[in-house]
């Protein structure tokens, strides 16, 4: 199935030049909180992809019926319902991960990316482009989480997905895990590093300095 250039832009834009985390700087709170290990980062990324995609589709389908005065409330109810379902499913099928994500699954509701996409895109577009937009933005948020989670777990615990990857010989030689990596400030430094690399490759995103 070939995608037209417009749908391609809708789907792939958020992964790069329109990224919700590193360009629009949205959803930072949860990006800092859940990325101390790789596994919760991946699960959180999947959860957000699912919620953004389906919330976008539902709002897009309802867009001609929603009373304008309560549209934010309707959006919130749809998002909250989806998030509750995700949380229930995690509790039933991935209990350990759910414990690690704790309150942050519930806090997907307050993720600005979601409300932003619903307001800016789903209310004015059909279900299929809205679905792609949701997937794109979810993935755009998700890949940042996974990259940050990867480095924090590798440098902070010496493991990846719970498996030891830094050899014991290195520890014997005096290497130590960086405990600072486990704390939220290092996550924001890592996000800043990603922004730095990203902007140096995309000069048009750089703000003009006086």
């Amino acid at each position: 199935m070939a995608l037209s250039s417009k749908t391609k832009a809708v789907l792939l834009g958020p992964l790069n030049k329109n990224n919700p985390v590193i360009v629009q700087v949205l959803g930072i709170c949860s990006a800092l909180a859940v990325t101390s290990k790789l596994e919760p980062s991946i699960v959180m990324a999947i959860a957000v992809v699912l919620v953004t995609a389906f919330a976008n589709v539902i709002i897009s389908l309802l867009r001609k019926t929603i009373p304008n005065r309560i549209r934010i409330i309707v959006q919130l109810v749809v998002v909250a319902a989806l998030v509750t379902i995700v949380s229930e499913v995690l509790k039933a099928f991935a209990y350990d991960v759910n414990k690690q994500l704790s309150v942050f699954v519930g806090l997907i509701v307050t993720n600005c990316i979601l409300m932003g996409r619903l307001e800016a895109f789903a209310l004015g577009n059909g279900p299929w482009p809205s679905f792609l937009d949701g997937i794109g933005n979810g993935l755009g948020y998700g890949w940042i989480l996974v990259v940050v989670g990867f480095f924090r777990e590798l440098l902070g615990s010496g493991t990846l997905l719970g498996h030891q990857v830094i050899p014991q010989a290195l520890y014997d030689a005096g290497y130590e895990n960086n405990g600072l990596m486990m704390l939220a400030p290092m996550a924001i430094l890592l996000v800043a590093c990603i922004i730095w690399v990203h902007r140096s490759k995309n000069k048009e995103l750089q703000e003009e300095t006086n």
Partner: protein
């Protein structure tokens, strides 16, 4: 249809809320059984960790049934409440939570490890950000600690959250809850400090309030079992 009409808005909101409520209630019903099974397995894993056994989810149930020989509730005098014995998740000992005001007593689990009996009691308290809890496995003399397990809802990673790590938990082994026949519990002190009146372990550097929380939990929560432990202690002297 006029979308800005108040009647339409009210009906729209009502229908939406009912549909969502039905959907969520249905999801909960469908998944509830699995969720409860997960919670029970998690609790079994915690109980087993207090016996210094870290088992996987799959092994938790068989290992629990193999090691835990009995479980029951005790009253404030430390005497077993009649008709509360049983180790399955449906029995009173397993389903009773410490903070429950309706509870008929305090839960105790009896485990048999290498031919000797250990008594496991649950604990609950408060850390810095939220609740902390744990299980304490005690030798049959009612005083020496065989193993300890701690959990927390949201302590700071790297600081207070370190109470769940094995090095912290292992410090409790062979510490005594009684000194000169008096219940003193085990103190958690700042690393490097000592306590001459009680057995003590080192707290977490940078996790002072969580460490204090553990200290209080060991004193107050375990203190509720004082009579039970005293009975064991005098019977075994």
């Amino acid at each position: 249809m006029n979308r800005e009409n108040s009647g339409y808005t009210i009906i729209y909101a009502s229908v939406m809320v009912i549909v969502v409520a039905l959907g969520l209630a249905f999801t909960h019903q469908v998944l509830n059984e699995r969720q409860i099974a997960n919670e029970n397995t998690d609790k079994m894993q915690q109980i087993l960790r207090s016996l210094n056994l870290d088992v996987s989810v799959a092994e938790a149930q068989p290992k629990y049934t193999e090691l835990i020989k009995n479980a029951y509730l005790i009253n404030d005098e430390g005497v077993k409440v009649e008709g509360t014995e049983g180790i399955t998740p449906d029995d009173p000992a397993f389903s009773t939570e410490l903070g429950d005001t309706q509870a008929k007593g305090l839960p105790v689990y009896e485990a048999e490890v290498d031919g000797s009996t250990k008594y496991i009691i649950p604990m609950s308290g408060t850390g810095l950000w939220g609740p902390i809890w744990g299980y304490l496995a005690i030798e049959s003399d009612g005083s020496a600690i065989y193993g300890a397990e701690f959990g927390h809802a949201g302590e700071t990673p790297g600081l207070g959250a370190e109470i769940v790590t094995t090095p912290f938990r292992n410090q409790f082994r062979e510490k005594n809850l009684f000194r000169n026949d008096e219940f003193t519990s085990v103190a958690v002190v700042k690393p490097g400090q000592t306590n001459s009146r009680r057995d003590y372990v080192d707290g977490i550097s940078g996790g002072t309030i969580t460490s204090k929380g553990v200290d209080n939990m060991l004193l107050n929560s375990v203190g509720r079992y004082k009579n039970f432990l005293m009975n064991l202690h005098t019977a075994n002297q």
